[in-house]
Symmetry: C2
């Protein structure tokens, strides 16, 4: 990996652990293996490094959908996969979603960094909300909506059903971000959650 990219990578790691203000350009340089002033050959200043990370992320989000073994841009196509959905498939979907968000290094670091910087300005707030609220709800809503139209799930309010599916996953994710020791407990709750979700919304009940 070239220096310019490595700077972003190491900076992201540090920002996600300590927050922008507590990271010194020196720290970043040290990790990259160069001296601080050399950073300025690649980025105008510290803020520019942060901005570049944010920019880079926008261009990466198709990868996320792929990582979830779904197309991501075409829920109708994705729904094919779930044509014969049952509780175990649903649990797998939830687990995969959770495991991906929780463990993918880039995703995790980016999310933690945004958590720490979300109140800095409206743009960052918006990025956070889109990334971890609006987009997941919208995408999963389309997916779950298809399951409803296939009769696998039953509800007259898909958006709220989606909220019921996603909110516990989101909350447990934030728990694991701050207390990684609780991952096992969280995984167990996720599974129970989805099992219960399936009972509540599944056609058989």
């Amino acid at each position: 990996m070239n220096t310019k990219q490595r700077i972003l990578d190491e900076a992201l790691t540090l920002f996600s652990e300590k927050g922008y203000a507590n990271v010194f350009v020196n720290d970043i340089a040290e990790r990259v293996g160069i001296k601080a002033p050399s950073l300025y050959k690649h980025y105008k200043n510290k803020q520019a490094i942060f901005d570049a990370i944010i920019d880079e992320m926008s261009s990466k989000f198709e990868q996320q959908a792929q990582a979830l073994s779904i197309n991501g841009t075409d829920p109708a196509a994705d729904a094919e996969v779930y044509r014969s959905m049952d509780e175990d498939h649903l649990i797998k979907l939830g687990n995969d979603l959770f495991a991906y968000f929780l463990h993918d290094s880039y995703t995790k670091r980016f999310r933690k960094m945004l958590t720490l910087e979300q109140f800095k300005d409206k743009d960052l707030a918006k990025v956070y909300s889109e990334q971890y609220f609006d987009r997941p709800l919208s995408y999963q809503g389309m997916l779950l909506g298809l399951l409803v139209s296939q009769g696998l799930l039953v509800t007259d309010n898909v958006p709220i059903m989606t909220l019921h599916f996603y909110a516990p996953i989101y909350m447990l994710l934030t728990v694991c971000d701050r207390e990684p020791d609780r991952e096992k407990e969280a995984l167990k709750l996720i599974e129970e959650h989805i099992r219960q979700f399936d009972k509540l919304y599944g056609r058989d009940y």
Copy 2:
């Protein structure tokens, strides 16, 4: 209010908006109406101000339960209130919970501050999780559990039911913290959420 207390108050406001590292003792002093060095007559240093805020909070949390018009320390007693619970009561409970957490100035600032500092060390992580995950789930779990034993709600898994009740509220709270403009939208979702929750878990369904 005496100076010592006002320092905590203004510091909390600033910390919650900009994060500890981006607040200068000068800023705090200015808001209090004194000069920075005078702060040191009241607190050993900047960190001590932060610590005092954390300490103060612990001693305040009974107030929270009271503010929710519940006893807080004795869910069995609280359950009396909900003996004749119906959907509208449940919506009110959810709305009150949400409105209190969202609008109570002290609670809100403290929560935002912790959001920004939660990764600093394990203690803070623990404080956050207890305050916004474990305790709410535990307390609401007891309450909802009583409703189950009274036959008003039906489930074989109260903790997960509680997760289903609380997680959406929590998630929407974090949305409003970062984008206050979305409060109206959030309130609407809360109401729909609880209505749906009642349909899913209510005895009539």
